[in-house]
């Protein structure tokens, strides 16, 4: 009884939406705005996180000077790297020597494609030959790799997407010398935002003796523990040993917090605005249908089906808005490539990721707003005095 009445009234009200499309559209567009903005902001955080998380392997460890937090702050002498590479827990490479790459991180400036003057910080990574077997997913996709001993660079594909002046064949000027870009590589992670070269040449040009970090392959699941305890017992070293994956995850902490704060604030304010708009529209809808509702009540329909039908209408409109917003966010932002500052004070190029989970969260928000926006008008609709409403012209 209750169910069939509800279905009848709901069908009636939904079929009449086209006749009063303007207020309904307000709900749809309002919620599309909220869900679109929410999804887009969090898609940015998700994209940044997935880029950095993809960077670290769980079977490799990064070693930096104690308390450095980021590679840019760290420095190790050659003696220290030699000691590190002899510790237990490190896997051997094809040549039987420990699979380890001492890497020197320095910074150069490139100009964004949409800028003409201001430089942005780009990581230049001087690496040892073992850097490539340590990152098997890194592929040279155009040109060739650098020749050790020469001032040659290979450029990450992310750098090429966002910045100018590092295309293959171009010359990058660093500390009074010319460096030729000879190849492009792609790794699908944060190394795509870097320029790579031979560590020896980088040391000579930047007047540095040692390196910033050492990346080592771990010798089985217990490797990290073995390496950590051996290094802790080594008086010549005060360094931090981190699983590579953990290091890169920790690099996203600040960004996630800031974007989360921004997304939360903006969503709350926009959601409040949308609730008011939804209330307004649903009150208008109920008022416009006052006579119709009163007629239904007069011929025996109960109050509850009226309440439910108004609520269902609000929820459907909210859902439509949410889907529209998520779709817009997906079309406009998914895989959009952007760059921002990472913990190393250099640019990290990443893409927005509109994940199913984010869309789901957006839709839940839309439904909650629709629920709030529909409830009060629904109650008013049910309480409308039948005789007075029928007399309205």
């Amino acid at each position: 009884m209750l169910f069939s009445q509800t279905r009848a009234i709901t069908g009636l009200s939904i079929r009449s939406i086209p006749e009063r499309w303007a207020p309904s559209l307000v709900i749809v567009i309002g919620l599309a705005g909220v869900v679109g903005v929410f999804t887009a902001l969090l898609a940015m955080a998700a994209g940044f996180e997935s880029t950095l998380r993809a960077t670290g392997r769980s079977d490799a460890a990064i070693i930096m000077r104690g308390g450095s937090d980021a590679e840019i702050n760290s420095g190790l002498t050659r003696e220290q790297t030699d000691v590190i590479e002899q510790q237990p827990g490190i896997a051997s490479g094809a040549d039987g020597r420990p699979l380890a790459s001492a890497e020197l991180m320095v910074i150069a400036e490139l100009i964004r494609k949409d800028d003409v003057r201001n430089g942005a910080n780009i990581t230049v990574r001087g690496v040892e030959p073992a850097a490539f077997p340590l990152r098997p997913h890194l592929q040279i996709i155009a040109g060739r790799t650098f020749t050790p001993g020469l001032r040659e660079l290979i450029v990450g594909s992310g750098v090429l997407r966002q910045f100018q002046g590092a295309e293959i064949g171009k010359v990058v000027r660093m500390r009074g010398s010319d460096w030729k870009v000879v190849g492009e590589f792609e790794s699908g992670d944060s190394h795509d935002s870097e320029l790579w070269t031979d560590i020896a040449v980088a040391r000579a040009t930047f007047a540095r003796q040692g390196s910033s970090s050492v990346l080592v392959a771990l010798d089985g699941p217990g490797g990290l523990q073995k390496l950590q305890s051996a290094i802790a017992a080594e008086p010549r070293l005060t360094v931090d040993v981190l699983r590579e994956q953990d290091y890169f995850s920790s690099q996203t902490r600040d960004f996630r917090r800031q974007i989360g704060f921004l997304a939360g604030l903006v969503t709350i304010i926009m959601a409040l605005g949308a609730v008011f708009a939804a209330l307004n529209s649903m009150y208008a809808a109920v008022a416009a249908r006052g006579k119709e509702i009163a007629t239904l009540r007069a011929i025996g329909f109960g109050g509850a089906p009226v309440v439910v039908s108004v609520l269902i209408e609000a929820l459907l409109l909210a859902l439509a808005g949410g889907v529209l917003g998520a779709l817009l966010a997906y079309l406009l932002f998914n895989n959009l490539s952007v760059a921002t500052l990472g913990q190393n004070f250099t640019q990290v190029v990443f893409s927005f990721k509109v994940t199913p989970e984010l869309v789901l969260r957006g839709l839940v928000i839309a439904l909650v707003i629709g629920m709030i926006g529909g409830l009060l008008p629904a109650l008013r609709a049910a309480r409308l005095p039948v005789s007075a409403s029928l007399r309205e012209q």
Binding site: P23, G30, G67, D69, E109, N118, R173, F276, A277, A284
Partner: protein, 386 residues
């Protein structure tokens, strides 16, 4: 009833609707205010610095230090009044809170930045205390640091000779900014470059990240920038010289595409708002068509009917907009205080001006169509309900 009275009475004919619309407008302008202030930080930023100072950094990147021995060479250039320098210390407070700490030459810095105010005795104490540190008012207030205290600060870059990254400095001065804009620049601290140079473990001796070149005449900024950069061309220490304003702008721009995202959000918010308020206005005019016809019959001109409707939409947008901007100002101040000045969300005069322009534009956009409709009404048709 006066004309104003009529507008007000019409607004409150459907009280719920007006209040709800007003609340939507308020929320939209709260967001507008906050985002616009972030936006103006990205676009204009740093207007307060003027153009009397140049920032010199290594051309490759400011993270690559330059030798302090360049100072006399730069200072010898005609038109250069004073050269100061500063080096990033990588300061960390307690576990993991980064601090803006720079190693400087006290008296040179004082000459270059007259905007920072501190008693002369404290500048002298700073110059003569090797382990001295001077702290900006904002930072001192945030952590409750007092003159004479010894403050432990770690560096995430530089160990001392002992190998320890835990440093400690004596607070010998607390400086303030000369005006509101500069007071906001006091969330930093300075330590003695000589002491830093001597006590750190590495080979970073006699080097610094930035030279700050104070000019005798700001008109010479471009010429002197070129002279400095030409002087060190083709050396390992090639320089890049910018005005302080450009430097700050470039620094902010490094954060990247956030500005773009903010534009998109603003667009979404305004589009939504336009629809909500526009719909309300259209609805209210639709309901009153017979009434407007009666007014016209009584002799109100087409123009004054149009005026009534526009006045209503303007009143709605103005009230909502102003309240929203006030709320945003308060909220911005709270965010700024809550984050210890790291997030500067300031709704200054510029943001308010843009906000008021937005209010006017908005009320025209939502009011014009219904107002025109009201003006075009033909009395006969309207009264007949056609």
């Amino acid at each position: 009833m006066t004309r104003t009275g009529l507008v007000v009475a019409n607004l409150f004919r459907k009280r719920t609707r007006t209040v709800l619309t007003l609340l939507s407008v308020i929320m939209a302008f709260v967001l507008f205010g906050l985002l616009q202030s972030v936006n103006s930080m990205f676009n204009a930023g740093a207007d307060f610095v003027g153009a009397t100072r140049l920032m010199v950094q290594a051309r490759v990147s400011f993270t690559q230090p330059l030798p302090i021995s360049l100072v006399p060479k730069i200072e010898a250039i005609p038109g250069v009044a004073r050269v100061a320098y500063s080096m990033w210390f990588g300061g960390v407070w307690q576990e993991n809170t980064p601090l803006f700490v720079f190693a400087i030459d006290p008296l040179r810095y004082r000459d270059a930045y007259p905007e920072y105010l501190m008693p002369d005795a404290q500048w002298q104490a700073f110059a003569h205390t090797r382990t001295g540190m001077i702290v900006g008012r904002m930072l001192a207030d945030q952590y409750g640091w007092k003159l004479g205290e010894k403050i432990p600060i770690s560096s995430n870059i530089y160990p001392q000779k002992s190998g320890s990254k835990a440093w400690a400095f004596d607070v010998v001065g607390i400086f303030d900014g000369k005006d509101e804009a500069w007071r906001k620049q006091t969330n930093i601290a300075f330590i003695n470059a000589d002491y830093f140079d001597e006590a750190n473990q590495f080979g970073i001796k006699g080097r610094t990240n930035f030279f700050i070149v104070k000019l005798a005449d700001s008109k010479q900024a471009q010429a002197i920038s070129k002279t400095i950069d030409a002087m060190f061309e083709n050396s390992p220490d090639e320089t890049k010289t910018q005005t302080e304003k450009d430097f700050n702008l470039g620094f902010i721009k490094q954060i990247g595409d956030i500005g773009l995202i903010v534009h998109w959000i603003l667009f979404a918010v305004f589009f939504t708002l336009l629809l909500v308020v526009g719909n309300t206005m259209a609805q209210s005019v639709r309901e009153r068509i017979p009434e407007l016809a009666v007014m016209k019959t009584l002799g109100f001109s087409d123009g004054s009917v149009l005026g009534f409707v526009l006045a209503e939409s303007f009143a709605l947008c103005l009230c909502g907009g102003l309240v929203g901007l006030v709320l945003a100002t308060a909220l911005g101040a709270m965010v700024e205080k809550g984050t210890g000045g790291q997030f500067v969300v300031q709704l200054d005069g510029g943001v308010w001006l843009i906000g008021i322009a937005a209010i006017v534009l908005m009320s025209l956009a939502v009011g014009l169509l219904p107002a025109l409709r009201a003006r075009r009404l033909r009395i006969v048709d309207a009264l007949a309900g056609r």
